[in-house]
């Protein structure tokens, strides 16, 4: 008969072998996805950093290591301040406005009953269109000579409002923001609707019994209880706006001048128009660092708000 100690040792060894097997099979399952991430995400990031330290023009087989010259040149360029300003403008305008709108839509739709699905479809529809197509749609809309917006304004006697909305410094960023919000709001509404579905209905019933107003319900019950959804949406929308390229490229090309130029757009211009891959990568590295920093700061502050 086996002693208790031997039994114990035997079962310990068995547990360890099971753990090893689990570990090995777990690693093997994760490896393909990990390989994809390494090859298509991590490696390009490392290569980008490498090229940012060179004077490669994107075509030549030869290039030299020039240290941080590209970073210095990009920061010293006359349009860098504008790039920075535009990028932050979009974060400050787009992220709060988008999230407030999306939250309001979600709260309204959640309570609306019968036509909720219709509204969800209408709001989400732009999000399934390619951003390039969205850019062309809004370019057509904003055309002051032949566009539908100008046509409608003219017909209702507001022709004096017709202007080159995407050709003026004062109006291009709001015009761009409207098109981005139109495209993206549906996605964030869905996230908020998901969050709202986790709020216990009894809380609202109890609140109704106590006779609180709609706004009090929103601020005292809804928002605190969907804090995680808010965190997700704010971080995702921040990352999305920092890295946005397609829509501004098609709609404004960064113009007029550099009035709507973002860091992502400028990186593209350095790479594929000015034939300066080194500068493009330097700007892309800076953008990556800024995006990571923003995400960490937002996560830090928003996570604290999730405790209720």
């Amino acid at each position: 008969m086996l002693s208790a100690r031997k039994l114990e040792a035997g079962s310990g060894a068995l547990k360890k072998r099971k753990l090893d097997e689990k570990l090995v099979s777990g690693i093997l399952f994760v490896l393909p996805a990990l390989a994809l991430v390494l090859v298509f995400l991590v490696l390009p990031v490392i290569m980008s950093f490498r090229y940012s330290l060179t004077n490669w023009n994107g075509v030549s087989t030869e290039y030299q290591f020039i240290g941080f010259e590209n970073f210095k040149n990009v920061i010293a360029s006359s349009e860098f301040k504008t790039l920075f300003k535009n990028t932050f403008y979009l974060i400050i305008l787009y992220v709060p406005v988008l999230n407030i709108l999306a939250l309001l839509f979600a709260v309204i739709i959640y309570d609306i009953g019968k036509l909720a699905n219709v509204y969800k479809v209408i709001l989400f529809l732009p999000n399934i269109i390619s951003m390039v197509v969205v850019g062309f749609i809004w370019r057509t809309i904003y055309n002051p000579a032949t566009g539908p917006l100008a046509f409608i304004l003219d017909k209702v006697g507001l022709g004096f409002l017709i202007q080159d909305w995407i050709g003026q410094k004062q109006t291009v960023m709001p015009a761009l923001s409207v098109s981005i919000i139109w495209f993206a709001v549906g996605f964030y509404v869905l996230i908020y609707l998901g969050g709202l579905s986790t709020v216990p209905a009894e809380l609202y019933e109890a609140a109704d019994v106590d006779g609180i107003s709609w706004w009090q319900r929103l601020f005292k019950i809804t928002i605190p209880l969907i804090a995680q959804s808010i965190t997700i949406n704010i971080i995702v929308s921040t990352i999305a706006i920092l890295t946005l390229f397609d829509l501004p490229y098609v709609l404004t090309q960064g113009g007029p001048g550099y009035a709507s130029q973002t860091m992502a757009l400028m990186s593209y211009q350095y790479a594929f128009k000015a034939m300066s891959q080194g500068k493009a990568m330097a700007l892309a590295v800076m953008l990556t660092i800024i995006t990571i920093l923003f995400s960490i700061v937002e996560l830090f502050f928003l996570r604290r708000k999730e405790d209720y």
Binding site: L28, A35, T61, A145, I162, D164, V172, Q253, G257
Partner: protein, 438 residues
Amino acid sequence: MMNRRKIIAMIAALAMLLTLVAGCGGADTPAPDTSSDAAPADSAPAAGEAPAEDITITVALMSNDWLDAAEQIAADFTAKYGIKVEYTPMPGEVEEYLQPKAASGSLPDVMSINAGAFGADLAENGLIIDLAEIDAAKNMVESLKPVFTSSSGKLFGVAGGLSSTLIYYNKAMFEDAGITEEPKNWDEFLAACEKLKAAGYAPLSVAMGDGAISNTAWSTGNAVEIAATDPQYIEKIANGTYNFDTPEQARIFERVKILNDNDYLLTGSVSAMVTTLLDSFKQEKSAMCFQGIWMAGAFMESPFEVGMMVPPWNMEGQEQAVVLGTETGFAVAEGPNKEAGIKFVNYIANEEGFYTYQQSRGSIPSLIEYDESKVKMTDDVKAYVEKLLQIKTTGAYWFEILPPSVYARLPQTFQQVATNEITPQEAAKTLQDLYTAQ
């Protein structure tokens, strides 16, 4: 011992991983031969070369305004030579499309190419071949060759045509505004704009949202201001000794500012792309449109009568000068299909394909010898070309002479001037700063 399920799962995971690794590998592509000789003249397939019916070439051409003709040319080429063509219309600009492909070693076998620094760079790096000995190049007007020649003497492209910029105008609107003669200089042009504005028409549409403004306002201004007074300017720009920070260069931008400040430009010109511009003119939203001769074919089919005039960009005391340059040409990538690629370039630039191409665009042939009866040019276009060729002073296009660091910023610099963000003098200084920083 592991159970069967776990073993199967591990094998499946390994298989997925191996598939991924196998997909990343591939035959080594041979390094481009930078010392390759010029492409040989047309010849029958060499021994060991795949027969024509087994060859498929990839062709990417900038053909937004002649797409049907491009597809017809590809089909006709296949019918004649048995070589299949995978045709892709190039979206956007040539350099933007080709640059990532050049970097990844996946250039199409035949491609559109502009004269200038980008094509020269591809040639010097052995990515596109020297076309000096092919039939199409031998029949190309000699004066167009320098801008398609790299620093080591490789002819990297065959021109698609002779090109110029001009102002198309709506004859009915001109008549209605009381303009009886085409303006011959800048002051007369401004006077004509004022008459058109008084008659309720938007005088002129330009597109500052993309490279169209560089073709028109910059290149024409350069012809009048620079080419007329400094015949060595092209060499100076190429060897790094040119100075952009001059009153002449500032006046190039000043003209656009004057037009914009006086409301002579169609609303939306600052942000307009070239496609919007064309639609606006054809929809009679503006009386004039500043564009290239490559649009003659499309504009002559407008429902109204269209006139063509030499841009009267010459200010007081200046000679009339025009842009006379190359249309986007054709190049062949170094690679296993280069012989078939050469056949295609000969076909589209020198054989029956050339006439299909020319007829769809109404462009000016850049060939020495060709069948005039097959070339489609309306009487108006012919008359205009005759007028054009009599003007002594000509300038080149921006893409033929400017380094990429400078030309990449031209449209935005024009926009900055038009929106009064910078002065024309500051615009000239901007170009100089970009030029010296490269």
